[in-house]
């Protein structure tokens, strides 16, 4: 445990970074300054570990249900999985008016995966990091992947790639460029202006997707950490903190699924727009 509140907070907001330090070679960063010095060629081990764990958990559970999927009377797990699938399918059908077998599974993956990653926030902020540090192997351990902008941008980049891919696939390379050049003002004089506007709009999509999710999760996490600070400040403050922790966790019953849902819906909307030929 760090000494001052500032250090405590900073500690909780730092990722476990593995990378090539300019002076010390390949290593796990022991201080945040070292992590910063590693630059781009480093990875956040905790972010990747937990996001992959959650993704595997999602696929494991759903695959298990899929293996035993029957058209007869469904069991509990199948019921749950079908509920998710039906919910996502409904959203896709409502929003996406075309035929693309990728969209629905993509939306399902986004929704459940982000939900699971977000839901790690319900675990009290000290439990797993303390456990990990108790092993003596690591100095930092941040378990909620969506509070790491790398994770959210990683997701939104995937979506961005799909937007570009389907825009070009549906409209053709030339058609896509034409669309960028001639909307919203359909005149050749406005081509530079249109291009500026449309490319800006295009770039805004992944950035807003990633920042929205990251911002919500990060802010929530900071509040959880602030609340956790009270546990070290005597009985009264500790009890107060417990109450606040509970209230904040209940509030996240709303925030966590909502952010997952928004990310999914916006992805569907963006891809739907990419499929529309003007």
């Amino acid at each position: 445990m760090a000494d001052t509140p500032v250090e405590y907070i900073q500690h909780h907001l730092s990722n476990l970074t593995f990378g090539k330090h300019p002076e010390m070679g390949w290593m796990l960063a022991e201080k945040s300054s070292q992590a910063a010095e590693m630059g781009f060629w480093a990875i956040h081990v905790d972010t990747l570990l937990w996001s992959v764990l959650m993704g595997v958990l999602f696929l494991f559970v759903f695959k298990k249900a899929a293996n035993k999927a029957t058209a007869g009377v469904p069991g509990g797990l199948q019921n749950f999985v079908e509920m998710c699938v039906e919910f996502v399918e409904g959203m896709v059908k409502e929003t996406f008016h075309g035929k693309n077998p990728v969209i629905a599974p993509l939306a399902l993956t986004i929704f459940v995966w982000i939900f699971l990653m977000n839901s790690l926030k319900w675990l009290p902020v000290d439990w797993i990091p303390e456990l990990a540090m108790a092993t003596g192997l690591v100095n930092y351990f941040k378990i909620v992947p969506t509070t790491d902008p790398n994770a959210t941008f990683g997701l939104s980049l995937g979506v961005f790639f799909l937007i570009i891919f389907y825009s070009i696939k549906v409209k053709g390379g030339l058609g896509f460029i034409k669309e960028l050049s001639f909307t919203p003002f359909n005149h050749w004089i406005f081509i530079p202006f249109n291009l500026f506007l449309e490319i800006l709009g295009l770039l805004t999509k992944p950035i807003s997707l990633a920042l929205r999710l990251f911002g919500n999760m990060y802010a929530g996490e900071v509040v959880f950490i602030l609340i956790a600070l009270t546990f070290g400040a005597g009985w009264i403050m500790g009890l107060l903190g417990l109450g606040m922790q509970w209230i904040w966790a209940v509030f996240h019953l709303l925030v966590i699924p909502l952010q997952a849902f928004i990310f999914m819906v916006l992805t569907i909307v963006y891809l739907s727009a990419a499929h529309e030929d003007h």
Binding site: N15, A42, L48, T70, E89, V102
Partner: protein, 156 residues
């Protein structure tokens, strides 16, 4: 908060998860749901069909019943008619028989009367001859006179 290679790692993980979901998770679940939907639809369909069949059967049964009733009524009516006819025929026959009997009886009576008349006539003629014999007190040639008496008797 450093942006680094994690972003790429995350993108790759994302792509892999989506691929796996699309390949191995979504299709069986979706297929099972479609199939159940179909099954339920078929079940409902067959239920409504059975209902319709039942209605049809009921309709048919009542129709058959009605026909049977009609037929029995017809048969009864026919039987009644036939019975009436037979009675009429029997009456007619009885009447005819009676009439014939009366006729023959009448004929017999007339015959009887005629015979009686003939007998009377012959007796009368013999009486007349006897009377005449007594009157004349002599025997007459019976043969010659009987012709005469016969003529007389016929005129009676």
């Amino acid at each position: 908060m450093n942006m680094n290679l994690t972003i790429l790692g995350q993108s790759i993980a994302f792509a892999l998860f989506v691929w796996f979901c699309m390949k191995f998770v979504w299709p069986p679940i979706s297929a099972a749901m479609r199939e159940r939907q179909k099954k339920i639809a078929e079940g409902l369909d067959s239920a409504s069909r059975a209902q319709r069949d039942l209605e049809l059967a009921q309709q048919k049964a009542s129709e058959t019943l009605r026909e049977a009733k009609e037929q029995s009524a017809q048969i009864l009516e026919q039987a009644n008619k036939r019975a009436n006819l037979m009675i009429e025929e029997a009456k007619e026959k009885a009447r005819e028989d009676g009439e014939r009997l009366i006729e023959s009886a009448k004929a017999e009576i007339t015959q009887e009367i005629n015979r009686a008349k003939d007998e009377l006539r012959s007796q009368i003629s013999s009486l007349i001859v006897q009377g005449a014999e007594q009157i004349l007190e002599r025997s007459v040639d019976e043969k010659a006179h009987s012709e005469l008496v016969d003529k007389l008797a016929k005129q009676l």
